[in-house]
Amino acid sequence: MKSTALTHIHEQLGAKMAEFAGYNMPISYSGINDEHQTVRNAVGVFDVSHMGEFILKGEGAADLVQRVTSNDVYALSPGKAQYSCLPNNDGGIVDDLLVYHLEDGNYMLVVNASNMEKDWNWISQHNTGGVEMHNISDQTSLLAVQGPKAVEALQSLTDVNLSEIAYYTFTKHRFAGVDNVIISATGYTGAGGFELYFPKEHSEVIWNAVFEAGAAFGIKPIGLGARDTLRLEMGFCLYGNDIDDTTSPLEAGLGWITKLKAANNEFTNKAHFVQQRADGLKKKLVGFEMVDRGIPRHDYPIVDEAGNVIGKVTSGTQSPTLGKAIGMGYVDTAFAEPGSTVYIDIRQKPVQAVVVKLPFLQ
């Protein structure tokens, strides 16, 4: 099992640890609900250094990224980041990712740890133009500092005016005495805040500085458990749960990052998605709330009133913010409209739920 540069600190803090994507990761510290509320109401810090980072550099870098990703990277100016996915040749998704345009001809791709090797091979295979590729994952730490008080909590650590970093933009600057930290106004929580990328030898210095600076704002460490409840309240997809090698980005509600109409955006398998769009979608990823008591879990069947299977749950939890059970899943298009009644088959018992608009948290 791999460790991040901060694993020993999580253990010292008494975190509940578990293996995730081959890494020994903190699942929770003070409890999922408490950590969740900390991020929604104040500020919390996630060590998500298990995530993979690839650098793609050179004259053909933009063309390569454009070819392998579904979003339109030609529209991404330096200093901006973009959510995207890597379509495969079979109508599914190799991975979802963030694309950072670092500077002209220089991109950073941030991918899921569990898919790192698969992504690397996939992109390499499409790299026919000799683009320089570097996997810097093992040298790079990533902290997500998330929550409404993130700006205030971190401001004393840098000269950059953090409140001026717009959503999905970033800057490279001195932070907590470390040069060239990527300060990115992104995250997976919907609570606002930053993601900080830096060489891993600075991990302890930055971690300690962040907690010292954030102490007055109630900053706490947050584990992967709350990361999951936070992202689910926002309806954000989790690879391996809601999307995978077999799911269409269009069916997953990722049409907004599948730019079929952009000029010069000839990405992998585009013709298939154009056709799928023209034919109409047979199923859709929707959000639902439980009407009767029960918590939906990954792979539970979704049925109609007569008991016919109409879909499958991909993610579910008790929402700490809403105080009710929520989930996402694929359903036949006929049941995809908000307000539709569906039933979740919870241990052979149909429990009523209602399709709602995403995100759950408005």
Binding site: I32, G225, R297
Partner: protein, 126 residues
């Protein structure tokens, strides 16, 4: 973690407190920590006579769901009424206010097959 000496334990992380022929049953401190924040308990066997290791319900936490198993055979005579409104009692006080069911035990000799605190402590440490 605490494992009181006056309780008997199972490998499935339930405990029993014996009072005559009555057993109070709940889940251990280790179990509640592993589950994390508990959302509710669904006792399916209220009033029923169940055999040792039968499922008597499920416990739903934010992150996961887990079945509950009878540590001993018997008839469920009461379900802790406080858990419906306050499932967090299981996290806060797993051996006290977080008890789940009261069982009229049908075979007290089954208790001899359960673990004492020391043996259970070793199980979860190992």
């Amino acid at each position: 973690m605490q494992f009181p000496d006056n309780l008997k334990y199972t490998k499935d992380h339930e405990w029993v407190r014996v009072e005559g022929n009555t057993g109070y049953i709940g889940i251990t401190d280790f179990a509640q920590r592993e589950l994390g924040d508990i959302v509710y308990v669904d006792i399916t066997g209220d009033g029923e006579t169940l055999a040792m290791e039968d499922t008597f319900g499920t416990v739903e936490a934010v992150k996961t769901v887990s079945d509950l198993y009878m540590p001993v055979s018997g008839t469920i005579s009461e379900v802790n009424p406080e858990l419906d409104g306050a499932p967090e009692l299981i996290n806060q006080d797993p051996y006290g206010k977080g008890w789940m069911i009261k069982v009229e035990m049908s075979d007290l000799s089954e208790l001899d097959g359960l673990m004492d605190a020391a043996a259970y402590g070793e199980l979860v440490a190992g």
